[in-house]
């Protein structure tokens, strides 16, 4: 019983303990807010990348692409673990708005909108054809014209609140897109002629994936048209196949199965004329496929965590000092306890219990304050923006919507446990010193 009464009494009576609680609360508050926002940004970014790529991508970096993709698509569609398959064409291109003289560099992506929406989250990124993706390449003003879907940042300006000024229907604009068709050998097709493979497409929709590099550089065109523009030769080729697995299949498991299937497919096609194009094809999970974008954010999150870990050492020291002080003032209490038979281990347990209380109280206060702050963080930012024009991130530069404020239970538990562990670590040395005190010395008359 004394192991509860004494720590509680110290907690209430020794006001210096409040500072330890305050330090823990402050640290927990900051860590919760920063890690929640950071984790939210990283999670959101990952989700967007997952939505963009699907679960798995079979593809090559070579602009020549790879042949026999239709056969492999059939294999995949026959597999019970696959939900959607979408072959795509990717190629750099030059784009020019019809009324303009200037060309810009873009990447064109040839897709079948229905298939691509089944394999990825493509359909959800559209604005005008979200409900009927099959008509995504049909401009509302003339469905007979060949349409193109522009990455949103190519067409619209992002506003200060990360919103876009959409019109009721897409503007009637034509874009001429020019590509370099390559033969299966990697040579430029039609070399020597004056006219490049250029085709005019009409703005039919825009795609807002939330990924700045995608939204600012990709133009989607119908698969067949892209194939004509980029892949010369009689044998049809594609750049990649995006795949979505059945809900009960994890991406890792699905990718493993696709890789096995691909190896079998390659063996079967070993004697084919364009089999050499299959050599550079890789099977990657969405994370591997988008690694170059995701890895830096994950690393930044890790570095932030390490930096906060370093700063949080201060909290351990505060707890150490406070406990050292309390123990040095309570040597008589310890002497009396030990004189009535309390063991060294019990003394350590007593002060560890006290540290545990400090940790629980401090982290509870910090977590509660952090939670409230996070719930209101977007309203606070709105208020700051209205009054002072201040935003945490300039939304015209950073493609961030609301500040992520969803507290992840794992983050919450990890912070709570770390804070309590930090308190226990800080109290360890003073507790050990307390346990080593000898009642015969501390209770001497000249010490009283």
């Amino acid at each position: 019983m004394y192991k509860i009464i004494i720590p509680t009494r110290y907690l209430v009576k020794r006001r210096i303990t409040y500072f330890a609680v305050m330090a823990v609360a402050l640290c927990v508050f900051i860590v919760l807010v920063v890690m929640t926002v950071m984790t939210g940004l990283v999670t959101d970014f990952k989700q967007k990348n997952h939505r963009f790529a699907g679960d798995c991508v079979v593809g090559t970096k070579s602009l020549v692409g790879f042949a026999y993709y239709e056969d492999f698509v059939q294999w995949l569609e026959g597999a019970d673990f696959v939900e959607g398959v979408s072959p795509v064409i990717k190629s750099p291109a030059l784009i020019r708005r019809r009324s303009s003289e200037r060309n810009s560099r873009v990447e064109i992506m040839g897709v079948d909108p229905v298939r691509h929406s089944r394999a990825t989250g493509f359909g959800d990124t559209l604005y005008y054809h979200k409900d009927d993706v099959s008509k995504a390449f049909r401009p509302a003003y003339d469905p007979n014209l060949p349409g193109c879907i522009l990455g949103i940042d190519l067409e619209l300006q992002r506003g200060a609140r990360s919103t876009y000024a959409y019109q009721a229907s897409p503007a009637q604009v034509g874009y001429s897109i020019s590509c370099l068709p390559l033969t299966a050998k990697g040579a430029l097709a039609q070399a020597g002629t004056d006219v490049i493979d250029t085709k005019t497409f009409h703005y039919s929709d825009n795609s807002h994936s939330g990924l700045p590099r995608v939204d600012g550089s990709i133009v989607y065109v119908p698969f067949e048209q892209a194939q004509q523009l980029c892949m010369a030769g009689s044998e049809k080729r594609a750049s990649a196949i995006h795949i979505r697995f059945q809900p009960d299949i994890t991406p890792e498991e699905g990718c493993r199965r696709v890789a096995a299937l691909w190896q079998r497919f390659r063996r079967e096609k070993a004697g084919a004329a364009l089999a050499y194009l299959l050599e550079n094809v890789t099977v990657q999970s969405w994370k591997g496929y988008r690694r170059e974008s995701i890895a830096p954010m994950e690393q930044e999150q890790t570095v932030m965590g390490v930096m906060f870990g370093l700063v949080a050492i201060t909290t351990v020291f505060i707890v150490l000092v406070v406990f050292y002080m309390i123990i040095s003032h309570k040597s008589k209490d310890i002497g009396i306890l030990k004189s009535i038979g309390v063991s060294d281990f019990d003394v350590i347990e007593l002060f560890s219990g006290f540290a545990f209380l400090v940790g629980i109280l401090g982290s509870s206060i910090g977590l509660s304050a952090g939670w409230v702050f996070l719930v209101k963080i977007n309203r606070i930012e709105d208020w700051l923006f209205e009054r002072f024009g201040f935003q945490l991130w300039d939304r015209t530069i950073y493609a961030i919507g609301d500040i992520p404020n969803r507290v992840e239970p794992e983050v919450l538990v990890a912070i709570f446990l770390s804070a309590v562990a930090a308190c226990l670590a800080g109290a360890l040395l003073p507790s050990w010193q307390a346990a080593r005190q000898r009642p015969a010395e501390t209770l001497q008359v000249n010490q009283l």
């Binding site: 900051i30 030059l94 560099r105 990697g186 006219v195 690393q299 050292y324 002080m325 300039d394």
Partner: protein, 450 residues
């Protein structure tokens, strides 16, 4: 003297004071490193723009003729040291038959000699950086063939682990012929039935040199050709030389506002004299400094820096609490010392000052150590990053993400001064309550026999 004696004694006897010095040092070094790295990055960002495009850029809404005359007029003024023209068009570079290796690039039509005077162009060339004279596209034995420069990243990817390019591999490409495809638009018919026509222009050229600027955007996607050759290819019907932009280097001490006004005036008179007062050119031409063009990004980076410093600053409040706790403990344990001092005639104020002064000294020592630590970390940040890569396999800095091949490692002395000053104040604040407690000590009560 007494104060100094007590400070030294407490420092010697109470080893825990070193803990507060260490805490201050860690916080200060962290803040110094954050501020320095951010400031270094921002400075490098601004510098990269100046090195790429000069001090001032004049960019009209469309290309214009007779640019040599404009350059001549600009260089006659005292505000302009040098000026050069450039044309910028996108293109696709085919690096070799059979490879399928086609890269989207920006084609910069430039005058290499003039450009070297306006920007830091020459020192980025692998072959010609140490050669005497102006850089040139002329290569021995090339004859009439077109030659060009390419960014080092156009020819290959950096090493996956180190994120560094191998100049030797790139240099092997010098003398190789590559093919650039670009084009211009034209109208096939007039009126409503007008259809745009893309006229393909193919420019085979020999790689004469390679640029390694250390800025990812330029290294990875730029190809440089002679401006006359590029313009002749793109616009064969033009009668006089045309340019898309004029890059300007200002003379030594010229004030930016004055320079912009002078350049604006010369441009207007040039358009009136030579370009038939084209209203489109007069109205929509922009004249900006390179720094002004980067301003929105720089403002965003500065804001991020401020927010990060604020977050770490708030966390550093813990250090004040730590100092408070340590000093409170000292005061409680040394009440008899304080009472004796007071009984010898010391005033409450001087007793309080013993502790506040000691706190400030702790802050000064801690922040001094922190500043040195921050300096060492900042200056060696690239080595540290490399060690992290070797030990943990974690490549923290990639030029494709953070623009530059190396982490800018300049010390920000202004922010260091501010942080050190605030740390000393914070340490003194941390000792304030313990000092008041010490000052309120009553010697009669403390020194009572019972």
């Amino acid at each position: 003297m007494l104060k100094l004696f007590l400070w030294l004694r407490y420092l010697r006897k109470k080893k825990i004071v070193f803990l507060s010095i260490a805490a201050v040092a860690v916080s200060v070094s962290l803040l110094v490193v954050v501020a320095s790295l951010f400031t270094g990055f921002i400075n490098a960002f601004e510098r990269a723009a100046v090195e790429a495009i000069g001090d001032v850029v004049l960019y009209p809404p469309m290309r214009f003729a007779e640019y040599p005359l404009l350059i001549e007029r600009l260089e006659q003024t005292e505000t302009v040291e040098a000026a050069t023209a450039m044309t910028l068009v996108p293109g696709l570079l085919h690096l070799g038959a059979g490879t399928g290796n086609v890269r989207p690039v920006e084609i910069w039509g430039i005058e290499p000699g003039r450009r070297a005077k306006v920007t830091g162009f020459k020192r980025f060339l692998l072959e010609q950086k140490d050669a005497p004279g102006e850089p040139t596209f002329d290569t021995p034995g090339a004859g009439e063939k077109t030659a060009g420069f390419v960014g080092i990243g156009v020819l290959g990817e950096p090493d996956e682990k180190t994120d560094e390019y191998d100049p030797a591999i790139a240099e092997e490409m010098i003398g190789t012929q590559v093919v650039l495809t670009t084009g211009t638009a034209s109208q096939t018919e007039q009126g409503d039935a007008a259809r745009p026509q893309f006229n393909r222009r193919v420019v085979p050229f020999t790689i004469a040199d390679i640029l390694h600027t250390g800025v990812h955007q330029f290294d990875e996607g730029c190809v440089y050709l002679p401006i006359e050759k590029l313009n002749r290819t793109l616009y064969p019907d033009d009668e006089s030389p045309t340019a898309g932009q004029i890059l300007i280097k200002l003379a030594g001490e010229t004030e930016t506002d004055v320079a912009l006004a002078v350049i604006g005036g010369i441009w207007r008179s040039f358009v009136q004299d030579q370009l038939e007062s084209d209203p489109y050119l007069l109205q929509y031409t922009k004249i900006d400094t390179a720094k002004e063009l980067q301003r929105p990004y720089v403002a965003a980076y500065r804001k991020q820096m401020g927010i990060l410093l604020l977050i770490f600053g708030v966390v550093s409040i813990g250090v004040i609490l730590l100092i408070f706790c340590i000093f409170y403990m000292i005061v409680r344990l040394k009440q008899k010392d304080i009472a004796i001092i007071k009984s010898c005639g010391a005033t409450s104020r001087s007793v309080a000052f013993v502790f506040v002064g000691f706190g400030a000294c702790v802050g000064a020592a801690g922040s001094g150590v922190g500043a040195v630590l921050g300096y060492v970390i900042t200056k060696n940040v690239n080595t540290i990053e490399d060690w992290i890569r070797v030990i943990f396999g974690l490549k923290l800095w990639r030029s494709s993400v953070y623009f530059f091949t190396k982490i800018p490692n300049e010390m920000d002395w202004l922010w260091t001064g501010r942080i050190v000053f605030l740390a000393i104040i914070a340490a003194a604040i941390g000792t304030l309550i313990p000092a008041i407690v010490a000052a309120l000590t009553k010697p009669v009560e403390t020194l009572r026999y019972e």
